[in-house]
């Protein structure tokens, strides 16, 4: 997929924020014109000016919410393209496609369950901010699995959001580290038993799974085995 050569799809890096081990948020403003409209949960295809990486595009979820002044993507340093993005200096330029994708809850979803593996948190972070700003009555459970405490992106921001919105419940899981941090409730891979313990009845909810291919495929099968209907499961795998 190529990004059209226009001046309007150029973005300039304004701010950079470290979020976790090897994870950074890049905040962009438009070079010309305005930021594109988007729905929380959508992604952009990104192109770089580097000689070695020109012609290559990769998808990155927008981690800011609609209405924020800058458009953010949150990048995990993995592979040469993400490494080059991770290293981008303030003032640097990228090309970005129009926002695209359909990974977001419908207006009718009331009871929403997000299952995030590592950097798979990015669409949920944007959707959570956007949803509660518009409709604080919606219920969201976020199960957020990471290897270690230092790998949890947006930790403080998520704390703030759950303190602000009583209908947001966050369950942190760590798979490779034990900690006494009271925010971490589970120390194993996410499975149906953990979901049942925190949700009770698994029916009549919309499940959104985002993370690595293995994480997404495993949880898809786990939910189906537990009796969740296919039409109540939505997936986005990062590869």
């Amino acid at each position: 997929m190529t990004i059209p050569e226009t001046e309007n799809n150029r973005l300039i890096l304004k701010e950079k924020k470290e979020e976790a081990n090897d994870v950074v948020t890049l905040k962009f403003c438009p070079k010309n014109g305005e930021l594109p409209d988007f729905r929380a949960g959508q992604f952009v295809m990104v192109g770089l000016a580097n000689k070695e990486l020109s012609g290559i595009t990769k998808s990155y979820t927008i981690s800011s919410a609609p209405g924020e002044k800058l458009l953010s993507i949150t990048v995990k340093r993995k592979g040469s393209f993400s490494q080059a993005l991770y290293d981008l200096k303030v003032g640097g330029e990228i090309k970005a496609s129009e926002p695209q994708g359909f990974f977001f809850p419908s207006e009718n979803s009331q009871d929403i369950v997000f299952l995030a593996g590592g950097i798979g948190i990015t669409p949920f972070y944007s959707i959570i901010k956007d949803t509660f700003k518009k409709n604080p009555d919606k219920k969201i459970h976020l199960f957020y699995s990471n290897k270690t405490l230092g790998d949890i992106a947006f930790l403080k921001d998520l704390d703030k959001l759950s303190a602000e919105y009583k209908n947001l419940r966050i369950i942190h899981l760590l798979t490779r580290e034990q900690t006494r941090d009271p925010r971490v409730k589970e120390f194993k891979r996410l499975d149906a038993d953990i979901l049942k313990r925190h949700l009770g009845d698994l029916s009549r909810k919309d499940y959104f799974i985002c993370g690595s291919i293995g994480f997404v495929n495993d949880l898809w099968r786990e939910l189906k085995k537990a009796g969740v209907k296919e039409e109540e499961i939505f997936t986005e795998a990062f590869f």
């Binding site: 495929n217 296919e230 795998a237």
Partner: protein, 159 residues
Amino acid sequence: MTDKNEKLKYDVAGQDPYKSDSWIYSDVVKEHFFNPRNVLLDDSGYKADGTGMTGSPECGDVMQVWIKVNPETKKISDCKWRTFGCASAIASTSVMSVMVTENNGMSLEKALNLKPQQILERLGGLPDRKFHCSVLGHMALREAVLDYLKKNDNTGNRE
């Protein structure tokens, strides 16, 4: 395709196509690669109600999907496709074209909501490295359904 054919079969004892590091293809994948269903090589005479195209930047695959929609039931009555893609893209899309047309056709809502994991289940798994090929077909299908809805005032009724 019968249920028996769709069951996961192992080519090599102990090799599980669902395992992320496996390069083993299931018999269903091989069957649909060697005998792809619903391929449309020449679309010049095909009157589609909706068309969609997508491509994977990772390996340069391009996928086109054409659908016909039953005006009475608003279900997909025919699904054709063509790709310059790999074995996994061919097998995935072949299986998908069967899934959306079997049992009197899939509703447009279900087709829009089709997940790669549903296709993977019917295929008996794919190596993780080939996962991105399995998303091409359903992304192009979604474009085709959206194209149909756009041409039909988003209601399924012709303008």
